[in-house]
């Protein structure tokens, strides 16, 4: 190996190879970029097709993502209803309240604690029975229990999280009666898990299909230039030197495709917001439908770049050893 490397420099010496402007690593990058840009300009049609394919592929995936993200945020809102309530038979004094509140908040998973006094409980009861207040005539606040309403952190809202929180809660002296709507929590969570699994599966299939389509499209563009690959290899180009411009080209195609698809998605989203009100039962503008968060947009951009790059890489493998 070493012996050959020595030979190699000897081989190049007789060419009186001058020190070059485009020499060194930076110069090479310049060459590769120029090469990639020239390739794109010489094969406009093929490149438009490739970028179009990547755009559509990413648009499908990101549309799916948009729906998924909005469903997740709706689920997040619903899960606010997962609440643990601690009931007491008597009205608590202020110091008692504070002591208990401190202990509860010290538990892992507790987000906030609200005390509901007897008067407050009666007020709520009344508002719920609006129009039928007569039913409550003669009911005095003393009949109703007082309570602490505890809302949980996001991570503790699944079945296991709630149960472990409740068992920790019950160990606090003075707390005996705890309710948390077991059945509802369980159902809600199993629905959420099912939805996530389904989404993950569908998303996975989509991604695989997209990779397949894009890499085949790129394969076509490289197939069209296999002569060039062969000639470069025959005049002594290293495989990296042959591949680099194609990889860059793939990268550029991927980035262009992802930018266009994000722009299209945003257009679709805005169009939906402003026109869907006429056929939906709710107003989409005020319903809290959101566009993809910035991390996701960045993710789509990276995914596009990666898609172009990997698509080129795998396609090159088939042609590089001519």
């Amino acid at each position: 190996m070493n012996r050959w490397k020595k030979k190699k420099t000897e081989t190049i010496k007789p060419f009186k190879r001058p020190t070059l402007a485009g020499d060194g690593f930076g110069g090479r990058i310049g060459y590769f970029v120029t090469r990639a840009v020239t390739n794109i300009r010489q094969n406009v049609f093929v490149n438009v097709v490739t970028i179009g394919t990547i755009t559509l592929a990413l648009l499908i995936v990101s549309l799916f993502l948009l729906v998924f993200v909005n469903l997740e945020s709706a689920a997040e809102n619903w899960s606010e209803r997962v609440q643990v309530t601690v009931y007491f038979d008597k009205e608590l004094t202020s110091p008692e309240q504070n002591a208990l509140r401190g202990k509860i908040l010290a538990l892992p998973g507790a987000r906030s604690v609200a005390y509901v006094s007897r008067d407050e409980a009666l007020k709520r009861f009344k508002s719920r029975l609006r129009g039928q207040e007569t039913v409550l005539e003669g009911v005095r606040p003393e009949v109703l229990p007082t309570s602490f309403e505890i809302s949980l952190k996001r991570a503790n809202r699944d079945t296991l999280g709630v149960e472990s929180f409740v068992s920790a809660l019950k160990r606090i002296p003075g707390i005996t009666e705890v309710q948390y709507g077991e059945e509802w929590v369980r159902r809600f969570n199993s629905f959420l898990n099912f939805a996530r699994l389904l989404g993950g599966l569908l998303g996975g299939f989509l991604v695989v299909a997209v990779i397949f389509i894009v890499s085949n499209t790129i394969k076509l563009t490289i197939y069209a230039r296999r002569d060039e690959l062969e000639v470069m290899s025959l005049v002594g180009a290293t495989s990296f030197f042959i591949k680099a411009p194609f990889l860059l080209e793939g990268l550029m195609q991927g980035m262009a495709g992802s930018i266009i698809s994000i722009a299209l998605l945003f257009g679709l989203y805005e169009g939906f917001l402003h026109n869907a009100g006429s056929f939906l039962t709710f107003n989409p503008v005020t319903s809290g439908l959101g566009f993809l968060p910035l991390e996701y947009i960045g993710g789509i951009f990276l995914a596009g770049a990666l898609l172009g790059f990997i698509g080129s890489l795998t396609s090159l493998k088939r042609f590089i050893n001519v």
Binding site: R17, L20, A21, R28, Y31, A237
Partner: protein
């Protein structure tokens, strides 16, 4: 410069393209490889630039065992070997200049140096006025010279040519031959595969005759002037 020891090459198991070839070509030699179609001329050349690896035996180029060279080192071998292919292998939709420049681009030369060197070699080939034409639009002889320019532009140690005069008329043949001679005079080892008898007769060089994958005859023309009836 070139040594083959007991080299056999079989594309398929039962049919061997080359059979037990022993051949030594010294530095600065000019050798014609001849024989009928299918004798193994092209296969032999392909072994010399690392496009094939022999089934048996050893191929040494400049002291390097090509058959044991890892794939990553093959490009460096090819940089010191210029090859003119039977079908030229020019990029049809590129200009003459671009076709020749590719050899130097691969070596990492800068643009200005490539320009000078390429125009210089095109002038030697007598096609400098066509530098900006698409190769598709050149005649056969002109394309041949572009292929030669591409092979010679980095002054290779070895020049291999496969049927370089295939479809050319006499005037073109002579020009091509004189380009080979010039390269040879400058120190390049030249191996030309051809079945063109007249080409061989016109020159006084070493001849290696192949038939059915075996070397059947070797002769130095200068020593055997009377014995020209090959």
């Amino acid at each position: 410069m070139i040594q083959l020891h007991n080299v056999s090459m079989a594309y398929q198991q039962d049919a061997s393209a080359l059979d037990n070839i022993n051949l030594k070509i010294g530095k600065g030699e000019f050798v014609f490889l001849t024989g009928p179609s299918g004798a193994g001329k092209t296969t032999l050349l392909r072994l010399l630039y690392g496009a094939l690896s022999p089934s048996r035996g050893q191929v040494l180029i400049d002291g390097q065992n090509v058959s044991r060279l890892p794939a990553s080192q093959i490009p460096y071998l090819r940089r010191s070997v210029g090859v003119v292919f039977q079908d030229f292998k020019l990029l049809q939709n590129r200009t003459v200049f671009e076709n020749v420049a590719i050899t130097l681009e691969v070596l990492g030369w800068g643009r200005a140096d490539i320009g000078k060197k390429v125009m210089h070699i095109l002038k030697q080939m007598g096609i400098e006025s066509k530098f900006n034409l698409i190769t598709q639009r050149l005649s056969g002889g002109e394309q041949q010279r572009v292929a030669l320019a591409r092979a010679l532009v980095n002054d290779p140690k070895i020049l291999l040519a496969d049927e370089p005069t295939g479809n050319l008329d006499d005037a073109n043949k002579n020009q091509i031959l004189s380009i080979f001679r010039e390269a040879n005079v400058r120190g390049t080892t030249v191996v030309v595969a051809t079945h063109d008898r007249r080409l061989i007769e016109q020159s006084h060089k070493r001849i290696v005759m192949l038939n059915k994958g075996e070397i059947v005859e070797q002769m130095e023309k200068e020593k055997n002037r009377d014995d020209q009836a090959i």
